[in-house]
C-alpha cells in the first residue's frame, strides 16, 4: 500500500477544520467524493461464497490506519466507501455485506442505507453490529471512534494509480476470505485495461484530452488516479498545463480549454450536473473545439470515473472506444 495514502486521509479531516484557508485542498477533496445517481449496470456478485475459506483467519492486514487483525472471517461488513462496496460485490463477498453508505449505489442489490460517509456517525454504524467497517475517508475522527468500540476498521483512501487500486482489491479479498476471487478480479481488470490500451490506434497517440469534473471546468491532471488512465492510453492531458500549486484537480480557464483544442472531451459530470455532448456544444466558443466538431465528447458515468474499483476497466474501454476511427 502506498505510504502516502494515510497522509491523504489525514488531510481530509484537517481540511474540514481550516476550510477557509485550504480552499483548493477542499476543492480537491470534494472532487474525489463519489458522485451521485443510480447505477447503470449490474455486475456478477454474491453467489461465489463457496470459495471463501475461514481457514485463512486470523489474518493481519496493513491498511491506511495501520495494522489490522481480523480474528475471524467477517460476516457483517459495513462499507462506507462506494469503491469498496463495488469491489466487495465483485469479489464474491457481497453476502457478507450488512450495510453500505448512501452513495454506494452499485451494484443495485447492495444493502444501501442512509449512513453518510461524509458525516459518519459511529453509533449509527455500530447499530448494524459490524465485524468489519471499510472506509475511504476518516471524517470526524470516525476511525478512532470505531476502534475505541473494538470494531475492526479498514481505511482505504483514494488510490493514486492502478497499482494502488489493485492492491486495495487484493486486500479486501484477504480481509473477507476471497483472496482467490480478488486475484481473478484484478487479473480481469488488468487484462481489459491492457486490451483497451492496445486497441488505441497509433495515430490517436498524443491526442489531447480534457477530463471534465464539473461545468465550472474542474479537471484532473496526470497525477490523479483517473489521469493515470489517460496516460496509459497515450493521451496528452490538457490539465497538466496547470501549475503544481493548483493541485491535481485544477479549475481550468474556459479560454485555455478552448485554445488547447482538445481532441477528446470526457464528461464526468453527466449525472451530477446534467452535462452532455449537446450542452458542451452550446457553451460559448466551444462549438469549434475538435472534440465537439468530430463528435468525440464521451458522456462518462460520474460514479465510474470517480471511483477506483473494478469498473475502472469499463471506463478505460469507453475512452478507448471513443478513440477508434
Amino acid at each position: 500500500m502506498s505510504g502516502s495514502l494515510p497522509r491523504a486521509a489525514r488531510s481530509t479531516s484537517r481540511t474540514q477544520r481550516r476550510s477557509r484557508v485550504a480552499l483548493p485542498a477542499l476543492t480537491a477533496l470534494l472532487l474525489v467524493l463519489p458522485a451521485c445517481g443510480d447505477s447503470a449496470e449490474g455486475e456478477d456478485e454474491g453467489a461465489a461464497a463457496s470459495s471463501s475459506s475461514a481457514a485463512d483467519f486470523p489474518v493481519t492486514l496493513t491498511a491506511d490506519n495501520g495494522e489490522v487483525t481480523l480474528e475471524e472471517q467477517p460476516a457483517a461488513i459495513v462499507s462506507m466507501s462506494p469503491t469498496a462496496t463495488e469491489t466487495l460485490f465483485a469479489i464474491g463477498a457481497g453476502d457478507q455485506v450488512e450495510a453500505v453508505d448512501d452513495n454506494s449505489n452499485h451494484p443495485a442489490d447492495a444493502p444501501i442505507t442512509d449512513l453518510s460517509a461524509f458525516t459518519p456517525n459511529a453509533e449509527a454504524i455500530v447499530a448494524y453490529e459490524p465485524d468489519l467497517v471499510v472506509l475511504s475517508d476518516d471524517q470526524n475522527g470516525i476511525v478512532d471512534s470505531l476502534e475505541a468500540l473494538d470494531v475492526p476498521v479498514l481505511l482505504l483512501g483514494s488510490a493514486e494509480d492502478l497499482d494502488d487500486a489493485y492492491a486495495q482489491m487484493e486486500l479486501l479479498g484477504e480481509a473477507t476470505g476471497h483472496a482467490d476471487e480478488a486475484a481473478d478480479a484484478v487479473a480481469d481488470v488488468r487484462d481489459r485495461i491492457e486490451s483497451a490500451v492496445d486497441s488505441v490506434p497509433a495515430d490517436a497517440a498524443g491526442q489531447k484530452v480534457f477530463h471534465e469534473l464539473g461545468p465550472e471546468l474542474y479537471s484532473a491532471d496526470s497525477s490523479t488516479f483517473i489521469g493515470s488512465i489517460y496516460s496509459l492510453l497515450g493521451l496528452e492531458n490538457i490539465a497538466d498545463g496547470a501549475p503544481d500549486p493548483s493541485g491535481g484537480y485544477p479549475q481550468l480557464s474556459a479560454e485555455y480549454v478552448v485554445e488547447q483544442a482538445p481532441d477528446l472531451i470526457v464528461l464526468a459530470d453527466t449525472k451530477c450536473c446534467d452535462q452532455s455532448a449537446a450542452t458542451v456544444a452550446e457553451r460559448p466558443a466551444f462549438g469549434a473545439v475538435p472534440a465537439v466538431v468530430d463528435g468525440r465528447v464521451v458522456e462518462a458515468d460520474d460514479d465510474v470515473a470517480s471511483r477506483w474499483g473494478p469498473r475502472i476497466a469499463d471506463f478505460a474501454e469507453t475512452v478507448a472506444e471513443a478513440l477508434q476511427g
Partner: protein
C-alpha cells in the same frame, strides 16, 4: 508605501486618506475613479490564460463596435482567438464590472441606511437566502433551466429577495423600520436561512462540490446572456440608489433630525434597502457569493473622497467595478491556466489593501 518618518507628508501617497478628506473637486475624484475602471477593464481584456496580441484585440473590438455602422476593420483576431476574446473574456470582464459595481454601491447604501460601518449587502439575509435557493435547486431541481435562464440563478435571485423580505417583515412586526431592530431581524433571518442551507447541503453530500463552487463565487462561466439577465435590475437599482445620496446624508444625522428636514426615515430606508437588495440579488444570481467587495470598497472610497453619500455612492459604483475586474484578473492569472475562486481573491487582495489604508489613516491623525 510610507516609511516611519512619513508623518509630515500629507497627500504624498495616492492611498493617503485623512488629509485629502476635506475637499477635492467631485469632478477630479470621479474622473480618477472612472480612469481606474477603464484601466482595470483594459487590463482585464488584455490579460488571460490565452495570450492575445493587443493590436488584434483593438482591431477586433473596433470591428465589432463599428460593424453596425457598416465599417469593416480588417486585421482583427480570427478563429479560436476571436472566440476567446468575444465569447469568453469580454462577457466575463463586463460581468465583473456589473457585479462589482452592484455589490459596492449596495454595500455603501446599506452602511448609510443602518449608519453602521460594518453593514454589507448580505446583511439582511440576501446571501443566506440566495445560498438556500441555490442549494435547494442544485440538490432537488429536476430541470436545469427555465427557458434560456438557468434554474440556479433564478433561485438565487428569488432567495436573496426572500431573505430580505423576511428580515423586513420581521423587523416591522418587531418595531417598525427602526434601524437596530431591523439589523437584528436581518441577523436572525440570515442565521436561520444559513442553517437551513447547511441542513440541505448535509443531506445531499453528493452535490457538495457544485454547491461549494457556487458559494465561494465565480465568474468563470460568464456569458453574454448573464450580462443581459442582470443589466435591467442593476440599472434600475443603481439609478434609485444614486438619487438617494442627499437623503442618506441627511439621514446620517439621525432619524428625528432627518424627519425635521423633510426626509421620511422609514420610507427612505425601505426604498434604499429594496433597491440595494435588487442589485445584490441580481449580482448574486450570476456570480454566487462574492464577499468583501460590498463591505470594503465603500470604506476605501470614504477614505479617499470623504463621507458624503453624494460622492460615496457613485464612486463606490466605479471603484467596485474596477476592484472586481482586477480581483478576477488575479483569480484568472495567478495559477493560469487554472483558476482561483474569486471570493478568495477579493479578500486576499482587499484585506491587506484595506489594512494599509487604515494604518495610513491612523498615522495621519
Amino acid at each position: 508605501m510610507s516609511t516611519t518618518t512619513s508623518r509630515t507628508r500629507p497627500g504624498r501617497t495616492t492611498a493617503g486618506p485623512g488629509a485629502v478628506r476635506p475637499r477635492r473637486s467631485t469632478a477630479v475624484v470621479t474622473g480618477a475613479a472612472g480612469l481606474a475602471l477603464v484601466v482595470a477593464v483594459l487590463a482585464g481584456i488584455w490579460v488571460g490564460a490565452v495570450p492575445l496580441a493587443p493590436g488584434g484585440v483593438v482591431l477586433t473590438l473596433a470591428d465589432r463596435a463599428l460593424g453596425p455602422f457598416g465599417v469593416d476593420v480588417p486585421g482583427g483576431l480570427e478563429g479560436t482567438q476571436a472566440a476567446v476574446l468575444l465569447q469568453l473574456r469580454l462577457p466575463r470582464v463586463v460581468l465583473a464590472v456589473l457585479v462589482g459595481a452592484a455589490l459596492a454601491v449596495s454595500g455603501a447604501a446599506y452602511q448609510g441606511v443602518f449608519r453602521n460601518p460594518l453593514a454589507d449587502p448580505y446583511l439582511l439575509g440576501a446571501a443566506a437566502g440566495a445560498g438556500l435557493g441555490a442549494t435547494l435547486t442544485i440538490a432537488y431541481s429536476p430541470v436545469q433551466s427555465v427557458g434560456p435562464v438557468g434554474i440556479v440563478p433564478l433561485a438565487a435571485f428569488a432567495g436573496a429577495l426572500f431573505g430580505v423580505f423576511c428580515a423586513l417583515a420581521l423587523g416591522s412586526v418587531a418595531g417598525g423600520a427602526h434601524s437596530p431592530t431591523l439589523l437584528l431581524a436581518g441577523i436572525a433571518v440570515a442565521a436561520f436561512l444559513a442553517a437551513a442551507q447547511n441542513l440541505v447541503q448535509q443531506q445531499n453530500s453528493d452535490d457538495l462540490r457544485e454547491i461549494y463552487g457556487w458559494m465561494i463565487g465565480q465568474l468563470g462561466s460568464s456569458q453574454w446572456s448573464d450580462v443581459l439577465l442582470v443589466l435591467p435590475y442593476l440599472g434600475v437599482a443603481c439609478a434609485v440608489l444614486l438619487c438617494c445620496g442627499r437623503a442618506l446624508d441627511v439621514l446620517a444625522v439621525g432619524d428625528d433630525e432627518a424627519g425635521s428636514l423633510g426626509v421620511h426615515p422609514g420610507r427612505l430606508r425601505l426604498l434604499v434597502i429594496l433597491a440595494a437588495s435588487l442589485a445584490t440579488a441580481s449580482a448574486v444570481a450570476v456570480s454566487g457569493l462574492i464577499g468583501f467587495v460590498g463591505l470594503v470598497v465603500p470604506h476605501i472610497v470614504r477614505r479617499l473622497a470623504g463621507g458624503s453619500y453624494t460622492r460615496v455612492l457613485p464612486l463606490s459604483l466605479l471603484m467596485g467595478g474596477a476592484f472586481l475586474v482586477l480581483a478576477d484578473l488575479i483569480a484568472r492569472v495567478i495559477l493560469s491556466p487554472a483558476e482561483l475562486p474569486l471570493g478568495v481573491v477579493t479578500a486576499f487582495v482587499g484585506a491587506p489593501f484595506f489594512a494599509v489604508l487604515l494604518w495610513a489613516g491612523a498615522r495621519r491623525r
